[in-house]
Symmetry: C2
Subunit: 267 residues, 2 copies
């Protein structure tokens, strides 16, 4: 595996200039970026900033939300943005159930069809679509893809070079089938991104901003790192945490803790 | 399937006397009760109250929490209480990870061992232990048993007449494997309890009190009812909802809506 990457969402309020300078100063090789923040800064300008600092972009978050009107054009723009940033990995969060629907199988089928429609665009741009299974608590409103097996099944009709999957410890730690799933992702050449975040309770209202830095919660990070390493995964390991308490702290301090958590996990 | 049963947790602030009278007046045949509320009322007195009103007790919630000190004695008391109430079903919620532990496999093994230790007591009392898989968002702090397959695997060493499983739509609706799991539960004769609650968002802080009455959320209740009916399940269908907004309303009003949601589901 390559080394640590800071996902920008972990230090949401650290301006991109400072974040990139801080990462370079800390010897970090890569960052994971988010579309909105990059667009606000200017995509070309962000690409130059990162490149000039000697960093690479490990992933761009995120495309997906395939039940939104205009999803196709939006995802094509996301693919272009990823290509401009020089990352080969566009993370896809599928979106939840369409409004008023209870047809979860149908929603999952639609996700598969949408991904298929994007495959030629992704292939042409040299960008890989990385399907991220989210924790089942997000199934209705954010992501109907709730397990690694589902993500792999959705990816399976398409070339592994174009459609892969994301392993995020926060979303998958509870699943006793995840270890077989990681091995399967390795065999099928689908492992596109590996992200660390810890599970802490109590969950906050809305549950989105409840993640902990690696080492602060219930997840056996070392077991995940071992399983992913055994697949031959050769990407960076991103730390991606969303939490108001983490966001309110200085970027360099959070970065240092994220690196320490990563090191403990992969040691 | 037998008919509707009101789980007491749905109308948490409805005093037991009134709840039983209200159910009898509404033609309801059964109620699901909770240990604390029953103990406070007096277990013998509660048993007489329910019996005299012509109701049966469809289940008692709950035993489990197998990592707590004193779990064995507490669960034996729960078994005795179930027997006194004349219900054959004691719902078990396993408890989460032991304090400071990240060994989820180990925690699940311990649950299996604890259930094994309770089997002779349950058998002697004529009470069935019903393992309830909870939604994976409760995995760390409330229940390491997160899928129906896990519950069935944990039950499998023991006679189906003594150890069964609970199907609660709220906890299982996101799982694409649940339909095979329900059929398996039927084949193995393990289906001990069937509970309805709907999934609504946003989830509240702590996530425990976020359930909706059947029909108000994302769950395809009719698909669940059909799948459970096809197993030949002959128990009652409990509506079990925890939500502050539901609790704050008059019991009879909530009961009427719970019955309407049940009828829509099983129609």
């Amino acid at each position: 595996m390559k080394g640590f990457s800071l996902n920008q969402a972990t230090t949401k309020r650290w301006p991109l200039d400072d974040l990139v300078a801080g990462c370079a100063a800390a010897g970090v090789e890569a960052v994971g970026l988010w579309r909105e923040e990059v667009a606000e800064y200017g995509t070309d300008k962000a690409a130059a900033l990162v490149r000039d600092a000697g960093l690479t972009v490990s992933s761009l978050c995120r495309g997906g939300f395939f039940h939104d009107p205009g999803w196709y054009d939006e995802n094509r723009r996301a693919i272009d943005q990823a290509a401009t940033l020089g990352t080969d990995t566009l993370v896809l969060v599928s979106g939840g159930l369409p409004d008023g629907s209870r047809d979860i199988d149908g929603a999952r089928r639609q996700v598969g069809e949408a991904i298929g429609r994007l495959v030629p665009d992704a292939q042409a741009a040299g960008v890989r679509l990385a399907i991220e299974p989210l924790h089942p608590m997000f199934c209705s409103d954010r992501c109907v893809v709730a397990t690694l097996d589902q993500a792999l099944d959705l990816a399976s009709p398409y070339p592994a070079s174009v459609v892969g999957v994301v392993i995020d410890t926060y979303h998958l730690w509870w699943d006793d089938r995840v270890w077989d799933g990681i091995a399967r992702a390795g065999r099928e050449g689908r492992l596109a991104s590996f992200q660390l975040a810890d599970w802490i309770t109590p969950l906050p209202s809305g549950v989105l901003l409840g993640r902990g830095l690696p080492g602060t919660g219930s997840v056996d990070m070392r077991r995940f790192a071992r399983a992913v390493r055994e697949t031959g995964f050769d990407g960076h390991v991103e730390v991606e945490v969303f939490h108001e308490d983490v966001w309110s702290r200085p970027g360099p301090e959070v970065l240092a803790e994220a690196i320490a958590g990563y090191e403990e996990a992969v040691a």
